[in-house]
Symmetry: C2
Subunit: 394 residues, 2 copies
């Protein structure tokens, strides 16, 4: 039996543990008195057009075609709709023959890194980062290096990156809006990042690819803009998922977009196709591919999350907690008022508050609070947060 796979399967995740704890507490004190902020599962319904389109496809399309194999890279008309949308929405060149439909973001990233990396390569990302990045990089035979970010803003620290890039750096992986910090990388950051990657690519006489994990692209608040990366850096691969924007996380639908003008773009795209094949993906689920083609530019009602953020961040600050203002995604990354974030999460459990320690995201002394929950639960949880703050002497 394979030891790596056994370890990946048997280490119960912190979030899973919290889930089980929450279920038990719900039995003891009632579900309405347990405040689970641990899961990044959208709480807003998919837009009505999603259900309507699914039903219409089922009622009107030929079933063997609707549910049949699509080509491995995805149905052409679906890729065409996405390419057209990318061009229209972001004003960048796009091409259906550089889009590869996937079973969601985890598949997009595993396939992309497997296409880019060789054994012994390095993938660089920034703390805090989504825990599974390590798994994705290691499947690709690479090592994940997670660099510290600016401790005040969680923006990329370009000087730190400058020193870290080496000849085995195959890719830099970014996630903006970020899970777990909610931070969005602004245009200036992206410009500096692109300039540095160009410089290092020249210096090492190779191409360092920029891989951008974008499940939260649509989840931004106020006037915040998320720069479209192919505009700034040629050698970019966009990994997108509809899990969060259309509230379809269980359906596993997303795509990889290789910038058509990237270095050896055609070979990279073919390597993406090969990696998908090697990892056992035959095609992305066909019904949801066809749905996606009809839902370009549509999102769930994001304003609900913005209201949640304002209510919760406002209250927590009032109680004395510190956190960076999240511009996007649906997480608050809050400074734990004691050094040991795990101990703080244990303390929170006494008040039936289920928070995730930031240690797993590579950032000690923080907790992640997912606010993709009902407004009502947030309101009910506030007295518990207040008591927790008092116990911590805030």
């Amino acid at each position: 039996m394979n030891q790596r796979m056994y370890e990946l399967g048997s280490k119960r995740s912190v979030i899973r543990e919290l889930f089980e704890f929450g279920k038990q507490r719900a039995r003891e004190v009632g579900a309405e008195n347990v405040y689970d902020f641990s899961l990044g599962n959208p709480s807003v319904n998919p837009p009505q057009v999603v259900e309507d389109t699914l039903i219409s496809l089922l009622q009107t399309e030929n079933p063997t075609e609707l549910h049949g194999y699509t080509s491995a890279q995805g149905d052409y008309s679906v890729r065409k709709a996405i390419a057209d949308y990318i061009h229209a929405a972001h004003g960048v060149p796009s091409d259906p023959d550089y889009i590869y439909m996937t079973c969601g973001a985890a598949a997009s990233l595993t396939i992309t890194l497997s296409a880019i990396c060789n054994a012994g390569d390095e993938v660089i990302t920034f703390r805090p980062y989504f825990t599974e990045y390590k798994v994705f990089a290691e499947t690709a035979g690479a090592k994940l290096t997670a660099l510290p970010s600016d401790p005040e803003t969680f923006q990329i620290d370009i000087d730190v990156l400058e020193k870290a890039i080496g000849e085995r750096t195959a890719a830099v992986l970014i996630n903006s809006p970020n899970n777990p910090s909610g931070v969005v990388y602004g245009e200036e950051t992206i410009q500096k990042l692109a300039e540095l990657l160009r410089e290092k690519s020249r210096a090492f006489k190779k191409t360092i690819y920029l891989v951008t994990d974008e499940p939260y692209r649509e989840l931004v608040y106020g006037t915040v803009k998320v720069p479209y990366l192919t505009k700034y850096y040629r050698d970019t691969v966009v990994c997108y998922s509809y899990s969060k924007s259309l509230s379809l996380p269980g359906e596993r639908i997303g795509y990889i977009f290789v910038n058509p003008s990237a270095d050896r773009a055609k070979e990279l795209y073919l390597s993406v196709c090969g990696a998908g094949r090697a990892l056992g993906y035959v095609c992305a689920p066909s019904l949801f591919q066809k749905l996606i083609a009809r839902c370009q530019g549509i999102s769930s009602d994001i304003s609900v999350y913005e209201g949640n953020r304002d209510l919760l961040a406002g209250a927590l600050r009032e109680y004395g907690f510190e956190c960076v203002q999240p511009d996007g995604a649906f997480y608050l990354f809050v400074k734990a008022p004691e050094k040991d974030a795990d101990a703080f999460c244990e303390r929170a459990k006494k008040y039936n508050l289920l928070l995730v320690s930031g240690d797993g995201f590579g950032c000690e002394g923080y907790v992640r609070i997912a606010y993709c929950v009902s407004r009502d639960m947030i309101r009910r949880s506030l007295p518990a947060f207040r008591k927790l703050a008092e116990e911590c002497g805030l």
Copy 2:
């Protein structure tokens, strides 16, 4: 860029080439005069209950739950329904906690082999075999060894297997009903196979797992029975897919069932969970999981394929072709009347007959004819087959 992935992505498959050729010929001579027997894409509609259940789920279930993440191994109620069905249909012990929902058969096999194998291990299968097995084994770090079968019946040659099993043999992979031969392994074959694997496991002081790829289990004709493997060999992992039985190949839904009494079954199951995670699978598509729970024991109208088989096999024999009678699946594996099967396929193209050379399935001198097509197309194709036979001097 990764060389293995590039090669897997850039080698155009024979079937893909045929598909393009067929499209071109259709433009030249009319689609009704091109006879494409190359694809294993079900031609029978999914049963009506599939469409009805999907619509009912969409109309009645809470959308955020319906489309939300399930646990990584699959929704519990879905796994329970499958475990209950396995027990009821096959009279074997079963358990939802040993079932892992997957994105179809290719995912099931890649995950299972990755869970079982270590670098340098060997997976044994039997010719003819589904081409992608080599890719799945190599992703798991193993080498695929494809042994010749009995040349008359395409049953397993136990003596050949006996000599081939070595200390690096981690798994034996079988596929019955077989793609491309349509052959079903009878109870006697399975008993001999199980006995040999027990003996070799003892001799090498290790467990040799039996992995069974069963997308065609439900597609058998007449009174033929497909033995359920866990009854005969304890250390069995069943890889199942609903692609063919419910005509849902594009939706990517299947499962892995680790026999609960297998050696270190719990560890193996956890390794399966870990391999799924490592390969980028988060959960199987949630809507189709929930569909599956309500469609246990239901199949598309298989009698259509049986009628196709009888019509086509009968006619081809009448014209002088030789083939083993297929008891299941929807393929005829026909002896090419000339030594070079590729040359024969080229010859067939002159008559607008699109057949797949058996060389890719590890069996030289044969062609695969997929009869999951419309009855009408088979009828229209018969004069072309007759002319082809005449040209070959049959």
